[in-house]
Every structure is written in structure tokens, then in C-alpha cells.
């Protein structure tokens, strides 16, 4: 029988870690992920796990100890947020290229500049090209379920994995949760039995070579292949998890998409608010839908493009800026995945929720309204938009003229100007 309980997202991760009983956890406190090593070290202190817990002096060393432990043959885990993840940046690439299956709970928080402790996705988006699998969660239940699945996805693919959840929103928000029995979790994750590892006495191993040009590119190609090959593994693990718990996970969730005219693509806890907006608009007879992306790395470009193609216009929501002057990271990848399709929807981008800026059901109404305007006008306007921001600077006349000059076809720019935000 599944166990009904109430837990915050952080407590749920720590509890999953206790059930998995990893060999080594190296961690350093940073808001809002701090509770994870706190709760976990209590399990260690109470003798409830066999883990060597290393209270390191920095996140840099947290990831370094995980790299050492994983290479040595241990199941290794850590947790972090924001600047902590940024401080690990170099080692993220080391872990991925050394093909070390490390599981990391990322409690998403804005990166500093200015310092801010609240949620957005700038931290994990900054690490999106480091070669790690990234899975995002809407609810505490999903965080818990994703974390348990992550361990074996990572080990089967030999790719490290980030299990992301929204700082404070799910990490500290307590909600109902269905926990899995200890023995079932234990059986599900099994024992970690790597083929080669540093402590295999009969066959010494060397890890982390100087990779000269004749080899470096093949190593990167292998990583890319492993990321591609992880797609069926993620689905397989999800299906096994589903038969254990009845809870269904895929690359993304489609919400009211079958007959939808317009839709959102969103990651993390905002999907819950978005679904509420969908429900209310549906009650008014508006055919709106929502796609909640769960797996960002590997990017499920074909299935996601197929899902987006069900509608006439789609708003892709980024909780991170990339300062590319052409939209956020999710937008660019999602929109690019549409390119080869002959009959594609309009796709626009909303940068939202930075540094914990609240997003309300009403904000989603506005986006859906925008999408209907786009359909009506048969014109996406400026695709790069901000949501819920005040006092912004807009496109100058000079910039507008430059854009006109380079634009093929008719003039239709109303984007980085005030109008776009007041639709």
C-alpha cells in the first residue's frame, strides 16, 4: 500500500534519497536547497542510511566529491541551487564527459546579479549544455517520483542527471504526497554495479585524460549519442514506474490539447497555474490547451513539435533570460523543432517569473488572449515578449527601422514595444 503523507519538495527529495540509500552524498548548503542535506544528514546521524555524507566547504567540492565517488564505483548524489550550481559549472562538464551517473537535486533559484533567492530557471538553463539530463517537476509528487526514476535513468545511460524543482514554490510548499514503500523503491533502483571503477582492484582504471584533438571530438560525439540514446531509456523507466505506482510520466504532459486552438508550453510549477487558467477558459468555451515539458535534456524535439502542431498558435514560456536578443532558451529550441514541419503554428515567447516574480491565473488569460489575437490577425508580431514586467524600455525608432530593413515580406513588427504587453 502506498503511503499517504504531506511533505515539502525538499523533504520529499531527502526522503527519496533515504529510500535509495546512496553510497556517498557530498553537499553544501544554499537557499532554497539547504533543507535537502539537512534532512539527509539527520538520516545519517540516526543511522537510517549507510551513506558517507561529506559536508564539503563549497559546491565546487560537492560536485568534485561526487565525481571522485562515482568514478570510484559509488552511487553518488548532491543537491544545490543557483550560485551553487554556477560554482559547479566546470565540474558539470567533467562529470558528463567522464560518463559518471551522478544524481543532483536542483532547486531552481535565480542567479545572482542582483542577488535574489527566489525561483526562476536561470541556474539550470545556464547548465543546459553541460551534458546532463534535466528533468523538471510541477509538484512535490513529481519531484519525488522524478528523483527515484532519475537514479536508474542516469546509471543506465551513464549520464549525470539534474532533477529540477521550483525553489520555495515546491521546495518549501507542503502538499499531499503519495510515497512508495521502502522495499519497492529499493527493488526499483536496485544495486549500482558499474562495469569499471577506480576501486576495482583486479583492473585499475584511469579517469579524466588529457584528450588530444585526435580523440576529443569522438568523446563529444559519444556523449551526444548517449544523450540521444537516453530517450527510450527515459520512457522505459517511466513505464516501469507507472506499473509500480500508476503514475504516468512521459517527456511532457499534454493538458486539454486534443481539440485546442491555442496552447502554452511551460516547465515547472507554473504549469499548475496554467492548468487552472485552462480549466476556467474551457468553462467559458475557449479551446485552450497546455503542454508541460518534463524532460528538457534530451530535448524531445520531434514529439514536442508534433504536440505543438495540434494548435494554431503556441506561447513558449521561459523562466530564464538568455540575453540572446531572440528569446529564451526553451523558446529557441522549441521553435526550432517546428522548422521542418510544413504546417506549423505561430510560436511566440514569454519571458516570465524572473527572480520569483509571481505569475497568476490572470496572466495566463492574457497570454491566451494574445494567442487568439495572433490567430485572428494571422500575424505573430514580435515573438520575443516579456510578461508581468513594468517600466521596460522598448524598441526605438532606429531599431525598428533596422528590423524593417532586414525583414523579408511585409512590415509586421509590434514586438519589443509597449503595445505587445498591453494586448
Amino acid at each position: 500500500m502506498a503511503i499517504r503523507d504531506r511533505k515539502s519538495g525538499n523533504a520529499a527529495v531527502a526522503y527519496a534519497m533515504k529510500q535509495i540509500n546512496p553510497d556517498v552524498v557530498g553537499a553544501f548548503p544554499i537557499t532554497p536547497s539547504t533543507e535537502i542535506p539537512e534532512y539527509f544528514s539527520k538520516y545519517v546521524a540516526d543511522g537510517q542510511v549507510d551513506t558517507e555524507f561529506i559536508a564539503v566547504e563549497s559546491e565546487h567540492s560537492a560536485m568534485s566529491t561526487c565525481i571522485g565517488a562515482s568514478a570510484a564505483g559509488a552511487r553518488a548524489m548532491t543537491a544545490t541551487s543557483s550560485a551553487g550550481l554556477a560554482y559547479m559549472w566546470e565540474l558539470l562538464y567533467v562529470a558528463a564527459s567522464s560518463r559518471l551517473p551522478i544524481t543532483m537535486a536542483v532547486v531552481n533559484r535565480a542567479l545572482t546579479g542582483p542577488i535574489n533567492i527566489n525561483n526562476d530557471h536561470s541556474d539550470s538553463m545556464g547548465a543546459r549544455d553541460s551534458g546532463w539530463i534535466q528533468i523538471y517537476a510541477e509538484t512535490n509528487q513529481e519531484v519525488y517520483d522524478n528523483f527515484i526514476q532519475a537514479v536508474i535513468i542516469s546509471e543506465r545511460c551513464r549520464i549525470p542527471i539534474m532533477v529540477c524543482q521550483d525553489g520555495f514554490i515546491t521546495s518549501h510548499g507542503v502538499s499531499n504526497i503519495e510515497l512508495i514503500e521502502d522495499e519497492k523503491v529499493k527493488e526499483f533502483v536496485g544495486e549500482y554495479e558499474p562495469e569499471n571503477y577506480l576501486l576495482k582492484a583486479e583492473n585499475p582504471l584511469a579517469v579524466g585524460p588529457y584528450g588530444t584533438s585526435p580523440y576529443y571530438m569522438e568523446i563529444k560525439r559519444e556523449q551526444a549519442q548517449a544523450m540521444k540514446d537516453s530517450m527510450p531509456v527515459i520512457l522505459d523507466v517511466a513505464k516501469k514506474f507507472e506499473s509500480m505506482t500508476g503514475r504516468k510520466y512521459r517527456f511532457f504532459e499534454e493538458y486539454m490539447m486534443d481539440d485546442a486552438d491555442v496552447a502554452l508550453v511551460v516547465m515547472g510549477s507554473s504549469a499548475g497555474t496554467g492548468k487552472e487558467a485552462v480549466d476556467r477558459l474551457r468553462a467559458e468555451g475557449k479551446k485552450v490547451g497546455l503542454i508541460k515539458l518534463r524532460v528538457f535534456r534530451p530535448f524531445p524535439r520531434r514529439p514536442l513539435a508534433a504536440a505543438m502542431c495540434k494548435v494554431k498558435a503556441v506561447a513558449i514560456m521561459d523562466k530564464a533570460e538568455s540575453f540572446s536578443n531572440s528569446g529564451g532558451p526553451l523558446f529557441n529550441e522549441a521553435r526550432s523543432s517546428l522548422y521542418d514541419l510544413p504546417d506549423k503554428p505561430y510560436a511566440v515567447n514569454y519571458i516570465y517569473g524572473l527572480g520569483g516574480r509571481d505569475i497568476r491565473v490572470e496572466d495566463f488569460y492574457d497570454i491566451y488572449k494574445d494567442l487568439y489575437v495572433i490567430c485572428e490577425n494571422d500575424d505573430p508580431g514580435d515573438v520575443y515578449r516579456y510578461l508581468g514586467v513594468r517600466d521596460s524600455r522598448y524598441t526605438t525608432e532606429e531599431q525598428r527601422m533596422m528590423e524593417e530593413e532586414y525583414k523579408p515580406g511585409a512590415a509586421r513588427s509590434y514586438g519589443m514595444d509597449k503595445q505587445a504587453y498591453e494586448v
Binding site: E57, A74, V94, L198, A201, V207, G208
Partner: protein, 313 residues
């Protein structure tokens, strides 16, 4: 058992020949000498900070190490070893690993005195059962002889060049062994490739077989960075010791002990004059640099004698 050089060098090398270190480089000799102190039946995992040593001994697909080896990055060797050692503890407890392993980390002075100091300090404070060996060649040699905090005052390095206004590096060398000792580690020592290497061997054995996070600082000259002929490596080490530029001592459970005292302390010129990096100090008008060096060496030596004397009391 008495130290016997012939017997020691007849042991199977755990660092194979054919690595790509320069002739006359101290690093390879330091590594080989430290690994010789391991009991033959003991396994080891060697960690390496990014360095000349790393790029010269583990160039894919070749490794010069007979033992397991891990390189992760420049600044995190001690933390990486911490993870390996923690894994060993738990896997041994679970019966997944049966053999005895020792954990030895090698970093240059750049990876130890500077960019890896935090990682080292963390590992020392946590007390992992490991040895950190700094092969100190007093500059960032791998990137082309830039100054480090280990570079001695007045040395000409590519980011502290001797010029018309500046006489090489402005600051004195950081006293890392003292900093390590302040962590209260079970064992820390300074040594170099001196004489028949008995001193290095005995200190390496103590560092490896004393439980806890232990530290060896091994002056390991670099012919390119120091400007000496490759056959003079042993001479460089000898002069560093005989001038008291590089004193040999150990700290065992807080007790400081001098392990070699020169019969007659040589003037620093004997050490300085043999190296290209100090050649500008011998130009007319720069006499003061040699005086300042001598004064500093004397002061540090007196401090050390006092520490060793205080320990004896």
C-alpha cells in the same frame, strides 16, 4: 627496516617510463619516489590536479600509472580524493571492495598553494584518510612559467618579469606547509629530492601509513622554469637545502622536528646563482635583492628552529 636505495629502486615502478615529462624535471621523480613508499601489496588510487604531471602522464589513450588514477580539474584534486576515499569507506563496509587501498593526490604549486587551496583546506579539515603531495616547482610551469604564490621573491616569471623598474616577483613565497600545519593534521612534512632520497621515502611512508589527511610538500625543480641544465636537478635540490632556502622538517601530531640541518649553512647566492630566473639579481645595483633574500631566509630559518626547539621542550 633500514632504508636501502638499491632495494627501493629495484621495486617495480608504479609510474611507468615513457611519460612525456621533460628531462631534468623533478615531478616524475617525486611521484615515483612517493609511490615507492607504498607496500607492494597495497592498492592505490592516485588523484592528480591539472598540471604538467597530468598532461604528461595521462594522455588519452595512454596512462603511465600502474594504479587507478583520476584527474578531474585544476582546483579540486583534494575534494576529488575526498569523494574516492568516502566511496572506499562505504564500499569496504558493504563488502564490495575487499583489498586495502591508499589515496595519494599530486598537485603542483599552482593547484595547491593557489587555485586548489580551498579544496585542500576542506579535505584537511574533514580528515579524509589520504595524502596530498604538492610537487612544488615554484611557478605555473604547465602554462608557461607564470608566477604563483609559491614563487620566491625576485624570481623572474612570465607574469612577474624582471624589468627596469621591477626586480621580478615582489612578494615572498607563501609558507604553505605552515598553513597546512595550522589545520592540525596528523602529519605534514617538507622534503625534496635530496641525497639518496631517504628523507623523502621515510616521510612518504609516514604520510601514507598515518591515518588521516596528511601532507607532503616536495620541492621539485623545473629546468625550464628555473633555468638550469637538466643534469643539475639534484644539485638544485641540494643547494636549496644547504642554503636553508628549503628546510626539511616534519610535524607529527603537532611536534615540529628538523629532519636535516646543514653542517654549514651556505649563503643564498650558492642557490640563486645557478638559476636563470635569478640572474638579474647579480647585475650591478641589484645587490640589495640578494641581501633581502638572505635576510628573509635567515628569518624563516630562525622561526623554524624556534618551532622545532619549542616542540622539543
Amino acid at each position: 627496516m633500514a632504508y636501502d636505495l638499491k632495494k627501493e629502486v629495484s621495486k617495480k615502478d608504479r609510474l611507468a617510463g615513457g611519460h612525456r615529462l621533460c628531462a631534468g624535471c623533478g615531478a616524475g621523480i617525486t611521484v615515483r619516489a612517493v609511490l615507492r613508499a607504498l607496500d607492494a601489496e597495497d592498492k592505490a588510487v592516485i588523484t592528480n590536479a591539472t598540471s604538467c604531471l597530468e598532461v604528461s602522464t595521462f594522455m588519452y589513450p595512454y596512462t603511465a600509472y600502474e594504479d587507478s588514477y583520476i584527474h578531474s580539474a585544476f582546483e579540486n584534486a583534494a575534494a576529488t580524493t575526498s569523494g574516492v576515499e568516502a566511496a572506499y569507506k562505504v564500499l569496504k563496509r558493504k563488502g564490495k571492495v575487499k583489498e586495502n587501498f591508499k589515496f595519494i593526490t599530486f598537485g603542483g604549486d599552482g593547484g595547491t598553494y593557489d587555485i586548489g587551496l580551498q579544496s585542500l583546506s576542506g579535505a584537511l579539515e574533514r580528515g579524509h584518510d589520504m595524502v596530498y603531495v604538492c610537487y612544488d616547482n615554484e611557478a605555473y610551469m604547465n602554462t608557461g612559467i607564470q608566477r604563483s604564490s609559491s614563487t620566491p621573491r625576485f624570481a623572474d616569471a612570465t607574469t612577474s618579469p624582471a624589468g627596469n623598474d621591477l626586480p621580478g616577483k615582489i612578494q615572498n613565497k607563501k609558507d604553505l606547509t605552515l598553513i597546512v600545519a595550522a589545520h592540525g593534521v596528523p602529519y605534514a612534512a617538507q622534503t625534496t629530492l635530496f641525497g639518496n632520497m631517504k628523507d623523502l621515502h621515510e616521510k612518504a611512508r609516514k604520510a601514507i601509513y598515518t591515518k588521516g589527511a596528511n601532507f607532503l610538500n616536495v620541492l621539485s625543480p623545473c629546468p625550464r622554469g628555473w633555468g638550469y641544465n637538466s643534469e643539475d636537478l639534484a644539485l638544485m635540490c641540494k643547494l636549496a637545502v644547504e642554503t636553508c632556502v628549503w628546510p626539511m622538517y616534519e610535524i607529527e601530531d603537532g611536534v615540529w622536528r628538523l629532519t636535516y640541518e646543514p653542517k654549514k649553512k651556505l649563503p643564498v647566492e650558492e642557490f640563486l646563482s645557478k638559476q636563470g630566473r635569478f640572474s638579474h639579481m647579480f647585475k650591478p645595483g641589484n645587490e640589495w635583492t640578494i641581501e633581502a633574500t638572505q635576510k628573509y631566509v635567515d628569518q624563516k630559518w630562525d622561526e623554524l628552529l624556534k618551532r622545532c626547539g619549542d616542540s622539543e621542550k
